[in-house]
Amino acid sequence: MNGQPGCRGWLHCRLGQFDLRLDWELDAGETLVLFGPSGSGKTTALRALAGLARPISGRIDIAGQPVYDSAGQIWVPAHRRRVGYLTQQYHLFPHLTLAQNISYGLGSGWRNPRTGNPGAGLEEILDAFQLRGLEERFPWELSGGQQQRVALARAMATQPQLLLLDEPFSALDAGLRRSLRHELRVALARRPIPVVLVTHDREEALSMGDKVQVIDEGRTIARGLPIEVLGQPGQTAVARLVGVENLFRMKVDSRHPRDGTMRLSGEGDATPVMLEAPLDDGALDGVAADWVTVGIRASDIILSSDEPVGSSARNRLPGTVSRIEARPPGYLVELDCGIPLHCQVTGASLEEMGIRNGQRLWAVFKASSCFLVQESAAEGAGDPQGASPN
């Protein structure tokens, strides 16, 4: 209505011994992903944004209006905040039909003429979310995907100015997730409001997020574009959280500035393992570190049964298969190359190559698939006061 239609602010919450500090800035139409393991404080953050949990201090601006300000003694209760909230289990009201669920929030609360827009009509919403013909069904008569759609429709019907999604796909099976993610993006594009999505699923964060903040133990430890933060994370703490399968501490042998690469060696069990990785310029510039931590994603490694010749890949390591475990969609093969290298393969590859324990294989990957990871943790976001406009 007035001011910028985004959402920004900072929070300090305490839940028993648990301490959460968070600051964020989000424009309308943008999706911020809060990424982190369970128990990292993500849900607490959402509840504080929704007005369901009270922080100790902070400030929350939605559409340019403060809904919470500890300094100014402002606290807008949940039912006046115009914040849509999708829980993991959707929590459709079981005693109400689909139509009654969707129109539940219409005609009360913020239909007040003073506060502006009335909610969209039921008919309009049924069409927009493809729920025609299901009006009289009860929540348990709907499929998981339909339930999610109803929960979203119910939240959007009240025309929220901020939408909060708490692991919206966790109750669905993998196949459905993909199509519903797309559906959700389409639905959100129709009415651009800021969205905060909480997840611990990397794929979900990558496909849904415009921005990501990695949360661990109540602190933001990394933030940026999802592809940068989650693809080749710059810190070991983040790398572990986002599930980078291979992280090795290695010694720098030689640098080749002309190629932009350097050679690393790791202490293998018998022979040293050599790797070629991008040169550590930029962040570590000037400090010629002797030791670096390097990360390689399992999905970036190709397995080959013969020695690969005539390949541009700079890293070719022979090894023995020491473990195979199912990791949908495919398998994670551990190859002992002196260091335990984890490689992701599809079920078809596993079958065609007849991969089994003890087999000799070659691991092949580009130098650019290796990324350097900083051992340090904790981003500068530790001080939320700095983000406060007071």
Partner: protein, 273 residues
């Protein structure tokens, strides 16, 4: 229901079935006997519609309905608080609430007399203010509330606990105030348990005897409820016929009311919270 029957098979099923049959006979036989003996009476209708019976029935229904209204009005918010609070004090009170269930009603009656009687702790003070409670219709209600409230509070508390807080949270984010949320979400979802509690509690109030006779006495038209009237009839010479008629009447009224409640507590979405 059928599936549950079918699952019980083998030796356990046979044993359980036998025990069940014996139990049904044990409970059913006295009830059948009561109805049969009452029906064999020649002047059943006269006894049932007699002054003694109708006066007692009217008083029983009036006092039990007032008692239940008091229990519901006070017990519902209290049960909600108990269900939602994590405070240690709430847990202590939670334990105390159920005390009247294990307390013999006669003891409850004596205790109430000591508290609200003419020379009781609070009663003495009330008496000097010109208010007397013991041996009045108000005392009947007091006794019934005392013994019946725990059944309602316990059941309502379980009902509220079965409603996940997230439903209330979601409702609020949809723009519905906490009070409205209680009426539109929490209460309907807890209704089956609340209605069950209502039935149990009402049945307990209707059958109240021990505390009533101690605290309220046995005055026809004022404190003589159905159970008291039955005992009085039994004690008078040749009163068995009259007692039988009254008992049959109370049985029929109770069964009808409880069936209505049981029907009312059925929900399409039961077990889907």
């Amino acid at each position: 229901m059928l599936r549950r029957w079918r699952r019980a098979d083998g030796a356990g099923g046979v044993l359980g079935g036998a025990a069940g049959a014996i139990y049904v006979a044990f409970i059913g036989l006295p009830i059948v006997a009561l109805l049969v003996r009452a029906a064999q009476q020649e002047n059943l209708w006269n006894a049932v519609t007699g002054d003694l019976a109708l006066t007692a029935l009217r008083l029983s229904i009036f006092t039990s309905v007032v008692s239940i209204a008091v229990v519901v009005a006070g017990g519902t918010p209290f049960a909600y608080l108990l269900a939602r609070s994590n405070h240690w004090l709430a847990r202590v009170i939670d334990g105390l609430v159920e005390l009247p269930i294990v307390l013999p009603p006669v003891v409850a009656g004596v205790a109430m007399l000591m508290a609200f009687g003419r020379s009781g702790l609070l009663g003495g003070w009330l008496d000097s203010a010109g208010v007397s409670i013991s041996f009045t219709t108000v005392a009947v209600v007091f006794a019934q509330v005392f013994v019946a409230a725990p059944f309602y509070i316990r059941s309502a508390k379980l009902g509220f606990q079965s409603v996940a807080r997230d439903y209330e949270d979601v409702s609020q984010t949809l723009g519905v105030s906490p009070i409205s949320t209680f009426w539109r979400i929490t209460l309907p979802l807890a209704a089956p348990s609340i209605i069950t509690g209502l039935g149990l509690s009402w049945a307990r109030a209707l059958s109240e005897f021990g505390a009533t006779i101690m605290f309220a006495g046995n005055l026809t038209g004022e404190t003589q409820t159905m159970p008291l009237a039955i005992m009085t009839a039994m004690e008078s010479s040749g009163g068995l016929d009259s007692a039988l008629a009254l008992s049959a009447l109370l049985l029929v009224v109770s069964v009808l009311a409880l069936s209505a409640l049981a029907l009312g507590s059925r929900r399409r979405w039961s077990g889907r919270l």
